[in-house]
């Protein structure tokens, strides 16, 4: 069974012999594509107007975080939301400052970021530097392509330690 998607990175499918019947695998894929194109168009948009549906932050924008009083009570993990903009930067600031005072190290999971604006990136940069001053650390794990792209555009990828070299294989 040949891949029809012209954009696919998979040429010849070596598992095709396993069965011939077609599976309905495309629904998920479509979702991903939709998300990606959506994010691409909205990418680093400075104008606060963000296209509707995907984000539904009527009230308080939530920023998922889990603190891990990991065995020594010193590491915390913060999972970034897909869309980060000026509207939730204050909350993120508050969150991170609080975590920074309670923990030695913060791992920020940036794998799900589809759109991030300059305000958020600057916040992350400042906090990362603040952390260094406090002999603590903030590291950005699994930055998504969008995250890397945006920080490169702003010229701070290296300072955030998310440049391609660093993120490719960690």
């Amino acid at each position: 069974m040949a891949e029809k998607d012209e954009d696919s990175l998979i040429g010849f499918d070596p598992l095709a012999w396993m069965h011939r019947s077609d599976f309905n695998q495309d629904s998920q894929r479509d979702d991903v594509d939709k998300l990606e194109s959506h994010a691409a168009s909205a990418f680093v948009s400075e104008n606060a107007e963000v296209p509707g549906q995907a984000m539904n932050h009527d009230e308080e924008p939530t920023i998922a975080s889990e603190s891990f009083p990991s065995e020594q009570g010193e590491r915390a993990i913060l999972v970034l939301e897909p869309v980060l903009n000026i509207q939730n930067v204050a909350l993120l600031h508050q969150r991170l400052t609080q975590m920074l005072s309670n923990f030695e190290a913060i791992d920020i999971d940036a794998s799900g970021v589809m759109m991030i604006d300059t305000a958020t990136l600057q916040l992350l940069l400042i906090l990362k530097q603040t952390a260094i001053g406090l002999q603590k650390s903030i590291s950005i794990d699994f930055p998504s392509d969008k995250f890397i792209e945006a920080s490169e555009l702003l010229g701070i990828a290296e300072m955030l330690e998310v440049d391609q070299v660093a993120s490719g294989f960690f």
């Binding site: 998979i10 396993m18 998920q28 891990f68 990991s70 794998s111």
Partner: protein
């Protein structure tokens, strides 16, 4: 009660068989399961990763070559976790071509005897498809295939499935096969595409949690520590705990 025998298998090297064997078994042991893990690779990376480094120490090699009982070769390495090292002579088995059919059945027989009380026996297979892997396949009830998400790994998986199907028809029994996405790099587009191809062929057989590529996982073997000892609570430790739960509860993608 008889143990579930799980072969951690993929003839491709570097896909995460040993990393999975070390950290999944430790995660299961921490969840209270009794585990024996067999280092079935003459390179002994599993033992090293668990902090056991004596290259002269005998293990599964003597069980297979001299009929020593498995129980005699168990080393308690962590709470609930026993290790059987490869031993310096394991490589000889790979050369045992003349023994014909019988040389493939050594491990299965060795695991039959004795009344041990493990919940699981894991076999960390070597990256080959010779006599050792035949032994693992004869012995195993289940196969756990660590998979990386690159194109050549798909190619390898195709080859592996061909081998497994041959064994299934020779032994007249199907294996329970599950896959674990290991060394996953979520930021690469090819990762998602490979995963979606695998999902198409193995619906309901890919463990729900993916193990991501992290520096910490690459670092811990050199200290003889599992991820739970090297950096407790880190993301990779949590990945493996979640994977262990998936494994026990049959939670698939």
């Amino acid at each position: 009660m008889s143990a579930r025998i799980v072969a951690v298998l993929n003839q491709k090297g570097g896909v995460g068989k040993t990393t999975t064997s070390v950290n999944l078994t430790h995660a299961l042991a921490k969840l209270g399961k009794k585990i024996t893990v067999i280092d079935f690779d003459p390179q002994s990376h599993l033992a090293v990763s668990l902090g056991v480094v004596d290259p002269q120490k005998s293990g599964i090699d003597r069980v297979l070559l001299e009929g020593v009982s498995l129980a005699q070769q168990l080393i308690s390495v962590r709470k609930n976790l026993n290790l059987v090292v490869a031993g310096p002579r394991l490589q000889e088995i790979e050369q045992l071509m003349d023994g014909g059919a019988r040389s493939g059945d050594l491990l299965r027989k060795a695991l039959l005897d004795g009344h041990r009380d493990e919940d699981f026996i894991f076999i960390d297979c070597p990256p080959s498809s010779g006599v050792l892997v035949a032994n693992a396949l004869f012995a195993a009830d289940e196969i756990l295939v660590p998979m990386t998400s690159d194109y050549l790994a798909l190619q390898g998986l195709s080859h592996l499935m061909g081998t497994i199907k041959k064994f299934e028809s020779a032994l007249k029994r199907p294996y329970k096969i599950s896959l674990v996405m290991s060394r996953y790099i979520p930021t690469r587009r090819i990762s998602k595409e490979v995963l979606s191809v695998i999902q198409k062929y193995f619906p309901g057989q890919i463990l729900a949690t993916t193990i991501r590529e992290t520096a910490l996982l690459a670092e811990c073997p050199s200290f003889g520590k599992t991820i739970f000892e090297y950096r407790p609570g880190c993301r990779s430790a949590r990945d493996f705990t979640a994977l262990a739960k998936d494994f026990l509860e049959g939670r698939m993608m």
